[in-house]
């Protein structure tokens, strides 16, 4: 949470939605896909680019490309503004390798606001927790969406 004081409507949303899992998907990891991702991004280490490397694995940032069926809970209130991708965060916990099957479980991890000259901006942080088939927690991938609210009235 970014600040100590929250607007009432934000506190209501936090109480209702934070840390409630709203989506679960199965993700098949394709080594060809993450090797091409690595090359396009400029990785030089063959463990990220060469499927024949003995330690072939996805670059840590690759998990940001894995998406669920939805980014917000089905019953999340419609906010008065346009949403934009404000950032991505990745926490690496264990290697992700070719042909792994991952389970991605999503929840709202944070809701907070910032107020600028053009008004209030609402930030929604959706976290997908990724688990391997044996239940190992391999990564967290956060998507930060900002909604710049339109003036009401």
């Amino acid at each position: 949470m970014q600040g100590l004081f929250l607007d009432d409507d934000i506190q209501v949303m936090r109480d209702q939605f934070l840390n409630q899992e709203f989506d679960e998907v199965t993700l098949e990891i394709d080594g060809k896909r993450f090797a091409e991702y690595a090359k396009a991004c400029g990785e030089l280490d063959q463990k990220f680019t060469d499927p024949n490397h003995e330690d072939f694995q996805a670059p840590p940032t690759f998990v940001a490309t894995l998406v669920g069926r939805r980014n917000l809970p089905e019953d999340f209130p419609r906010l008065n503004g346009v949403g934009m991708d404000a950032g991505k965060a990745v926490e690496w916990l264990a290697p992700i390798r070719d042909n792994m099957t991952l389970t991605g479980k999503s929840h709202l991890h944070d809701i907070y606001t910032k107020t600028g000259r053009s008004g209030r901006m609402v930030f929604l942080v959706t976290r997908m927790e990724l688990y391997s088939e044996d239940g190992t927690h391999v990564a967290n991938a956060d998507t930060r969406t900002v909604i710049r609210e339109r003036p009401s009235g």
Binding site: R33, Y37, A40, P59, A64, G87
Partner: protein, 139 residues
């Protein structure tokens, strides 16, 4: 400034990482779109992007974040990136030169961890993407 480091003992507070000029060409972004995703017009077609109100095609945010990871690995091939947080402040435009710079902001010898601030700037030296990363290095 060493071009590469291998151990945490080689890292000094405040040192700058070697700058990295990512491949922002439309061919590279189209290839990214073909294999990874984000192949829509706003990323792969300047005219389509302009119709959406952008100055030209834009680099997908997930690709910009990948550039930051690659920059760290080029400097520290033995590093394990533990956390990388990226803030998209403005679009990174396709076919425009950009530079990625980084600076070491903290060293935790006991944890073998180093924190780095990373920035993508355009030719006008305007910040487009900011990132912070925590990496782990061998002792």
């Amino acid at each position: 400034m060493a071009d590469q480091i291998a151990k945490i003992s080689e890292v000094e507070f405040g040192i700058e990482l070697p700058a990295f000029d990512p491949d922002t060409s439309i061919e590279n972004v189209r290839r990214f779109g073909e294999y990874v995703g984000w192949g829509g017009g706003r990323f792969t077609d300047h005219e389509a992007a302009r119709k959406e109100g952008f100055p030209g095609a834009i680099i997908p945010g997930v690709m910009s974040q990948g550039f930051l990871g690659a920059m760290i690995h080029r400097w520290a091939p033995t590093a394990q990136i533990k956390i990388i947080d990226t803030i998209f402040r403005a679009p990174v435009l396709v076919d425009q030169p950009h530079t990625i710079t980084g600076v070491v902001t903290n060293i935790e010898e006991d944890l073998k961890q180093v924190e780095i601030d990373i920035t993508i700037t355009n030719e006008a030296n305007e910040t487009r993407v900011q990132g912070t990363a925590t990496i782990e290095l061998p002792a």
